[in-house]
Amino acid sequence: MSATGGAQAAAAAAESAPVDATSTRRGSGLGKEPTALSDFLARFDHKVIPYVLIAPFFVLFTVFGLYPLIYNGVVSFQDWNYAKNNGWMGFANYTRVFGDAGFWHALGNTFGIFLLSTVPQLLLALILASLLNRRLRAQNFFRVGILLPYVTPIVASTLIFAQVFGRDHGILNSFLGSLGVHTTIPTGTFAGIDWRNTAATSWTAIATMVNWKWIGYNALLYLSAMQSIPKDVYEAAALDGAGAWKQLWKITVPMIRPMVLFTVVLSTIGGLQLFTEPMLFEPNPVAATGGTHGQWQTIAQLIYNWGWKHGELSYAAAMSWIMFFIIVILAGFNAFITNRLGGGGKR
């Protein structure tokens, strides 16, 4: 059994440990005096096994998380075509990205969709959380019900939203038509709006999907923070005669500021990497173009397009690296702003 001494692999840990256990017990139980072997095993169990237990995380994270992130930087200075490396390129990929109108265009789309999805998402989540933060009948029904979007596969929900936002037979346009909204194009008139046609409308459609998906989830995060606010905070504040709305913004929200900060950072990281919704909003998803003139193409989609449609992995890697820094800076900036907003003018 001592042969497993240096075992790093988790599988080895799983297999060897129970055997260690039996032999250790046999050693101390039968002999009553520690033999060299049982002594060794006991020491092994105390000194080495803890590292074996945590090894799977560190091994997998290093190989499939940290290393690719760093190696991504290396690849961005090379010339990869699909899985073949054609040597070093210096900063060529980066200068190309900065001069690439498509990149700036996609960056604009990404930010546009990000703003349209994050701000309403978090505000509505706060309101929904405060609606749930009451003495409620059927409390579990409501909490579970608002998670329906969270459990729905994004691919499935995007495909159905693509139908809802359809120009000719979408339910939304039919509804808008009944309200009197019509659009005239050279070839005729149709009810509602051609959602995929312009940047603003396609961003709105995609942001709607993102909002739908995450409002309930964020509401539960806020709710959990709200429920850990001490009750006497509200007793003290009652002297001012605060109503529900005022109570929410003057007491509850400042009290859950760390959680608001957390969700802002989380949705910044998630929102700027938006991929599935813009991909499947497209009538032909495999094209990965983000609309007839890229009006809703996001950075993540552009990276996919260059990397796996064109096979220019190095160019895609350079974009990823730039995006990484943008996300880190923006997440920090958003956290800072949220912190300031929460700190100023309160109490």
């Binding site: 105390h46 690719p68 019900g145 329906l148 959990s224 429920q227 499947l280």
Partner: protein, 329 residues
């Protein structure tokens, strides 16, 4: 204060008389909230109305999947659209089409139109396989590491835990190009193993299990088992695992939902290969020149149903997991 109570009872009366939509949400009787925390305040009827609206909005797209996948090309062209599914036979036909169990005649073509029986069914099985293995791996590895961090003494434990926490903040989606190169070197691209192995353990899972084990497994119990000669792994297996079963359930559910729904990496590595997961299969169905949305949406519905079932059975656990995870993270 008395004044405001009077004001509010007046406005409450007005509410009851003429509850109009123009009244902004949440601006309700202040009196009800005086001195009480929100949790002790009974929800007003409006509160329920808004919550029901939220549930309806949440459920609508899923309902709409039913409607679309219960249609034919003719009914789906209706203006205004039918809002109630008319025919179960159509639903059944569209589901059978996506599963490749039946064919349909295309006007002008000599043979019937069908999907390969293998594709979608295969993807479904693949997704079940991936989700099962990833969830099992997550539970095993995260609870082992969580146990080590919570209850064992070893050199460098605290700095290592800090490293685990720091990795939570890295958006490692952005290393995806290099990850793909790593996978192709290993020869794993287009294989299910490429979506399984990187997901077997996560920083969040380790952290979540560590917190739970720290709070719920008494040190004395571990010590006394040690004195009795139990090995580390035996302590984990016989003592820790039974106690942390609730946390395992929660982590397992969250992992299963996340794994079933993963798309981006699966598309990159499995996209052009013979082993798609369900998301990849759906995106293929929706691509190309011959796309029938009633069939694509029938597939979407099939992909969604297992998770709705899961939410129905274990919704309370999932809610608990999200709310607890939030407090711990």
């Amino acid at each position: 204060m008395t004044q405001s109570v009077l004001d509010e009872s007046k406005s409450a009366a007005q509410h009851a008389a003429a509850a109009t939509a123009s009244v902004p949400p949440l601006k309700r009787s202040k009196a009800a909230y005086l001195g009480r925390s929100p949790q002790d305040t009974p929800a007003s009827p409006w509160n329920y109305v808004f919550l029901v609206v939220a549930i309806l909005v949440s459920a609508f797209p899923i309902y709409w999947m039913f409607v679309i996948s219960s249609g034919t090309d003719q009914t789906l062209a209706h203006i205004p659209p039918d809002v109630i599914p008319k025919s179960f036979a159509n639903l059944s036909h569209n589901v059978q089409m996506v599963l490749g169990l039946t064919t349909e005649q295309v006007s002008g073509a000599s043979s019937g139109r069908s999907f390969s029986a293998a594709d979608f069914t295969n993807a479904f099985v693949n997704s079940i396989l991936v989700t099962t293995i990833v969830t099992a791996g997550m539970l095993f590895f995260c609870s082992l590491a969580g146990f080590a961090f919570a209850k064992l003494r070893f050199k460098g434990r605290d700095p290592l835990m800090v490293i685990v926490l720091l990795t939570l903040t890295i958006p490692n989606q952005l290393g995806v190009v290099a990850l793909y190169i790593v996978m192709s070197r290993l020869g794993w691209t287009e294989q299910l193993i490429s979506v399984i192995v990187p997901a077997l353990v996560s920083a969040f899972g380790v952290f979540y299990m560590r917190q739970f084990i720290q709070d719920s497994v008494p040190d004395e119990l571990v010590e006394s088992a040690r004195v009795d000669g139990a090995s580390t792994f035996r302590v984990y297996w016989n003592l820790v695992l039974p106690i942390v079963r609730p946390a395992l359930g929660v982590l397992g559910l969250l992992t299963a939902v996340g794994t079933w729904n993963e798309f981006q990496w699966a598309l990159i590595t499995l996209g052009s290969g013979p082993h798609p997961t369900i998301g990849v299969a759906l995106s293929r169905l929706a691509s190309g020149s011959y796309v029938k949305y009633r069939i694509v949406i029938a597939g979407s519905l099939l992909a969604t149903l297992p998770l709705i079932l899961l939410l129905f059975v274990a919704g309370k656990q999932i809610v608990k997991g999200i709310m607890e995870g939030a407090l711990k993270a």
